[in-house]
């Protein structure tokens, strides 16, 4: 590629002749219009001509140069003679100016003051709260219809969703809950060893898993796994106008899409929770047998004496509540998704975040309530 150059000459009639030569291509270093203008001193000139006899190759870079020069000349009331410019480039420039220019160059950017922003936030929060109440209300109505046998969704869908959030999640639940049991036992063992009370590791792990960790860990796994999946499924249906198609057929999106997902999660989460409880206890057993010299029978008996049915029930109630929360936050983000592909990602993120926040808050409140009623 040849170097591209630009020189300026005075014509006899006091007009300016710009001579361009070389390759004016995008990969080449080209003179900037601002540099040219700085050397130009065109204030007293009335006409600019362009000579391109030495121009070898050109592309959009050259057109841009002429385009900018044109704009400058129009602004400064200078006549620009384009006759020397290649015809094809002239055609392009004509094409550019063929469209009417829109008045406002940029989108109106509103700069809000502190108070206005505060107000907007508050309004947004109240709008969102109303949306949540709306959704929950719709869901209750839909549940009512379901209980009276009038909600319309396909049993096949429900079966698929149960499979997806039940058996298909077993692998990851196994891994996580076994590890959580191991960790609880490790941490407990360190402390209890000091008092020679190693056997109480069984109590710690058993109670911890059954009352808290089993329910909470499975719920968090499901929020990341299933809640996000729900949000992106429903979100992409929203983007493809599939939900509108359902609505125009008179089918409630809540009945058809949200209800089976909610039922599937509420049915499966307690089962997964129970499974996680036992695997956690198994994890504790592994640590106790290998590190604390506690025999299998010792550990099992200790666990049996420490755990009551009520502890499991407390965990199962929690996991039912978590199931509802995960399903609602996932489906609500999905249904409320915008129309562009990027909003599906936002919906999935907000489903996971709000799901986990809800789980932890609900766990805390339920623990307090259990304390009060003595469960």
């Amino acid at each position: 590629m040849q170097e591209c150059t630009l020189s300026m000459e005075n014509n006899i009639d006091d007009s300016l002749l710009i001579v361009v030569s070389g390759d004016w291509m995008m990969g080449n270093v080209t003179p900037q219009l601002s540099d040219v203008l700085a050397r130009l001193g065109v204030l007293n000139r009335h006409k600019i001509q362009i000579d391109t006899a030495l121009l070898i190759g050109w592309d959009s870079r050259f057109v841009l140069f002429i385009f900018e020069l044109q704009a400058y000349c129009a602004q400064e009331n200078i006549e620009l003679d384009l006759q020397g410019v290649p015809v094809a480039a002239q055609d392009l420039l004509k094409q550019v100016s063929a469209f009417p220019v829109r008045e406002s160059g940029d989108k109106p950017q509103r700069d809000l003051g502190l108070l206005a922003r505060l107000g907007a936030r508050t309004q947004k929060i109240s709008r969102q709260s109303i949306a949540v109440l709306d959704f929950v209300g719709e869901l209750c109505l839909s549940l009512g219809r379901f209980l009276r046998g009038r909600a319309s969704f396909r049993g096949q869908d429900l079966a698929l969703m149960i499979q997806d959030c039940g058996p298909n999640a077993l692998g990851i639940v196994t891994l996580i809950s076994l590890l959580v049991g191991l960790i609880l036992a490790f941490v407990g063992a360190m402390q209890l060893k000091i008092f020679g009370a190693q056997i109480y590791v069984a109590n710690l792990v058993g109670l911890g898993m059954a009352r808290e960790m089993g329910a909470m860990m499975t719920a968090i796994i499901m929020a990341g796994r299933t809640g996000a999946a729900y949000a992106s499924q429903l979100g992409s249906m929203q983007v493809n106008e599939e939900i509108d198609a359902l609505k125009t057929l008179g089918i409630s999106a809540i009945d058809f899409l949200v209800l089976p997902r909610l039922i599937a999660l509420v049915l499966m989460l307690p089962l997964l929770c129970l499974y996680a409880d036992f695997l956690g206890i198994l994890g504790g057993l592994l640590v106790s047998m290998s590190l604390l010299d506690i025999s299998f029978m010792e550990y099992v008996t200790q666990t049996q004496s420490a755990l009551h049915l009520g502890d499991f029930i407390a965990g199962l109630i929690k996991s039912c509540v978590f199931g509802v929360l995960v399903a609602i936050s996932g489906c609500m983000s999905g249904i409320g998704c915008g129309r562009s592909s990027s909003s599906v990602g936002d919906a999935a993120t907000s489903a996971v975040v709000s799901g986990i926040v809800c789980i932890v808050v609900a766990d805390a409140s339920l623990t307090v309530i259990y304390q009060m009623i003595g469960l």
Binding site: L92, Q95, S97
Partner: protein, 239 residues
């Protein structure tokens, strides 16, 4: 061409000459878009070769293939603009990647390309904020960003009203005239393919092969293949 053993088209052979506006036509499901994906180098043909001048697209190194692919501009059916970028950023992205232009030059070029398709004033809009027709034009502006040698259009007039479709045709013609770009258009829009096409191939979904080749207007007059005649006369066959 085949998808997992399902043959879509076989025995296709044609040349696209420089400076042509080449139309790929045929009914729904005949493999037009698949052919386009093959030509673009997005999909490897099951059998056969694709040559860009002397280079066999699938017998050269991936680096060289990418170099060739970079010389193509593509306007996808629904624009395929990156939704997280503004129109200006959409056009600036390939320029940032493949040229060493300064930021102000890139801004200027993006403005020029948008002006070329009549979208001045929408630089800071996101694709979700503009209409379908504007998305198409913005897609064209992005396809033009690197001054491609070959421009590919996938169904340019689909989803446009007749007037906008005509405007887009005019735009294609004027770009071809001024830049000398070779243009490949996949379409089944009759007014548009008669208006702009200088050469064409017709793919048939029944026989799964290419049944006619030539300028669309010539095909209308001289091609006696019944399927082609039906297609070009919208079923009102005069045979």
């Amino acid at each position: 061409m085949a998808y997992e053993g399902f043959v879509i088209q076989r025995d296709i052979s044609f040349d696209i000459h420089q400076g042509d506006i080449f139309i790929v036509m045929g009914g729904n499901g005949c493999g037009k878009s698949t052919l386009l994906r093959h030509l673009l180098g997005l999909k490897m043909p099951q059998a056969g070769d694709i040559y860009y001048q002397q280079a066999n697209l699938w017998h050269i190194s991936p680096e060289e293939r990418h170099k060739i692919m970079r010389r193509n501009g593509v306007m996808y059916q629904s624009g395929a603009l990156w939704s997280s970028l503004t129109l200006e950023e959409n056009i600036a992205l390939p320029l940032h990647e493949y040229t060493n232009l300064s930021a102000s030059e890139i801004k200027g070029l993006a403005y020029l390309k948008l002006a070329l398709v009549g979208l001045v004033g929408f630089e800071s809009y996101y694709p979700s904020e503009i209409s379908g027709g504007m998305k198409k034009r913005a897609g064209l502006a992005r396809a033009l960003a690197l001054d491609p040698d070959i421009l590919f259009f996938d169904e340019p007039s689909a989803g446009l009203d007749p007037l906008s479709a005509k405007l887009l045709d005019d735009l294609i013609l004027s770009i071809q005239a001024s830049l000398g770009t070779t243009i490949v258009v996949v379409t089944h829009d009759l007014p548009s393919l008669f208006a702009i096409g200088t050469d064409a191939v017709f793919l048939d979904s029944e026989t799964k092969t290419l049944v006619a080749q030539g300028a669309p207007k010539e095909l209308l007059k001289h091609c006696h293949h019944p399927v082609v005649q039906q297609f070009l006369n919208r079923g009102e066959t005069k045979l």
